[in-house]
């Protein structure tokens, strides 16, 4: 039974310390307007927290992100299963799916604003569009690439198509689905911030834009660091989930 690799925590800490040191060094050679030092950014935190601006913005961004991503998973996984299962649909949907996946979703934003306005729904829809296709495509690939010998084994024992899907194709696809979700999470956080910057100003993207326009660089760095934290936490969470669900693959 292979154990999970122990995290090299000490190395992680060293890397963060080195990063902060370099940041400090660079900031000392320039003005706080251009690059404030880590200390100046930390000093800006209380005012943003005190006014509730940071908390509100973080919750707003997380809401947009989670709503869009949840929709992406809820639509992408079942659609991927259906497309993977029926070869005919595969041909019909190949070009639209590939187009939507590969085109920059940012280009769709003006159209979406015309259709659905500037509300929070529009932002969630942008996140949804950014995240659904990698999940769909990966799920479909998992279903299609299911070891056909395992399916044949089940057939020989009299399994129905539904049993083969539930017992074999879907479990086989879980690692594929998880890597689709990992890609989707990365795209979704980008989409959430871009949506906040380009539609109605709100959330962490909104704060970035607001303080940026004011040339309040130290304050602007606070939501930026928050976005970095959120991204790091999400990447870690997805990685842990992938490890958990893929334990049987360890040999």
């Amino acid at each position: 039974m292979a154990g999970m690799a122990r995290e090299p925590v000490v190395l992680y800490i060293i890397s963060v310390v080195v990063f902060l040191a370099v940041w400090q060094a660079v900031s000392m050679s320039t003005t706080p307007l251009f690059l404030p030092s880590p200390g100046e950014v930390a000093a800006a935190v209380p005012s943003l927290v005190g006014s509730g601006a940071l908390t509100d913005a973080t919750l707003s961004t997380l809401y947009v992100f989670l709503a869009g991503l949840a929709l992406g998973v809820a639509a992408g996984v079942p659609l991927g299963i259906v497309l993977g299962r029926f070869q005919v649909l595969n041909g019909v949907t190949y070009i639209p799916v590939t187009t939507f996946y590969s085109m920059p979703f940012v280009a769709l934003i003006p159209l979406l604003v015309i259709w659905t306005g500037l509300g929070v729904e529009t932002k969630a829809i942008i996140v949804f569009i950014a995240s659904v296709f990698p999940i769909l495509i990966n799920t479909q690939a998992g279903i299609q690439q299911t070891n056909h010998r395992l399916l044949e084994m089940a057939t020989s024992f009299g399994a129905t198509e539904q049993q083969k899907l539930m017992d074999i194709s879907i479990p086989f696809s879980v690692p594929y689905i998880m890597s689709g979700i990992r890609i989707a999470v990365g795209r979704a956080i980008v989409a959430a911030i871009v949506a906040e910057l380009t539609t109605s100003i709100s959330g962490l993207g909104g704060l970035l834009s607001y303080y940026g326009n004011e040339f309040a660089t130290a304050k602007m760095m606070v939501p930026l660091v928050m976005v970095a934290f959120i991204s790091l936490a999400l990447t870690y969470a997805v990685k842990k989930m992938e490890e958990r669900l893929g334990r049987w693959r360890l040999t």
Partner: protein
């Protein structure tokens, strides 16, 4: 009427050879050529032959997993056109579901065949039989090759099919376990009166267990000979090995197989 009737069965495969960029040559390779034999109900038949001659292919056609080019297989007189509830297969490459535990893997066949009796009790019985007690909640990757093979065996045995098709099921077992499993299979065969078709590369194993042994030629495989094993049942597997009948049969089978292996070498196959 035979329990299993294999009638003028033939099967070829297309083999595609790449020749340079984008050019490929398709040639057909005959695996099984006009094979006819019958297996009586409750009979134990072993199939032996040079490796790569088509034993697995033949068994897959009997199981309804591979469509023959010509000929047919009948079970109880009914033509096989797909997987039949009357038979179960033990696969050479085992084919366990890696995300399911030993217990869940063994349950699989019982669930698919809609067995109305107590599935949990049946699984317990066969886990015990193949000596996997205590490993119920292990995953396949946590087991040795031999243990995995015993899970595959239990999965098929638990269904208690009328016909059991086994493709080198003891191939990766160590000598001790192999001996125990051979004894268990002989006991299951005599107690439950199943019809068994058993592919093996081990001639001694074939003699110990079988009523009849089917020797295949090298590719394209035809029937070389069908040999009756005239050893009384129940057999004590240990005593049988020292009998003169056993020694003679082993010599005869080995000579026959060697002839085929040398022929294959001569053609460079």
């Amino acid at each position: 009427m035979y329990k299993i009737q294999v009638d003028h069965l033939s099967k070829s495969f297309n083999s595609i050879k790449k020749k340079g960029v984008g050019r490929q040559v398709v040639s057909t390779m005959a695996a099984i050529d006009d094979v006819t034999f019958g297996v009586e109900a409750t009979e134990f038949l072993s199939i032996v032959g040079p490796s790569g001659c088509g034993k697995t292919t033949l068994l897959r056609m009997v199981a309804g997993l591979e469509k023959p080019d010509r000929g047919e297989v009948r079970i109880d007189g009914e033509r096989i056109s797909g997987p039949s509830p009357k038979l179960c297969m033990v696969f050479q490459d085992i084919l366990l579901l890696p995300w399911k535990t030993v217990r869940a893997n063994i349950e699989l066949g019982l669930r698919y065949r809609n067995h109305s009796n107590d599935i949990a009790a049946a699984v317990d019985r066969y886990i015990d039989l193949v000596g996997l007690k205590g490993f119920e909640s292990y995953y396949p990757h946590q087991l040795s090759g031999g243990m995995q093979q015993r899970v595959g065996l239990a999965r098929a045995l638990a269904v208690e099919p009328e016909v059991l098709l086994m493709d080198e099921p003891f191939g990766s077992l160590d000598a001790q376990t192999r001996y125990i499993m051979q004894r268990e299979l002989a006991a299951i065969h005599s107690k439950l009166r199943r019809t068994i078709v058993f592919v093996t590369h081990d001639l001694e194993e074939a003699i110990l267990l079988s009523d009849k042994i089917l020797m295949l030629t090298g590719r394209p495989s035809r029937i070389k000979e069908m040999i009756q094993v005239r050893l009384r049942r129940p057999r004590d597997l240990y005593d049988v090995k020292s009998s003169s009948v056993f020694a003679e049969l082993r010599k005869k089978l080995w000579n026959s197989l060697e002839e085929e292996i040398l022929k294959v070498k001569a053609v460079g196959g």
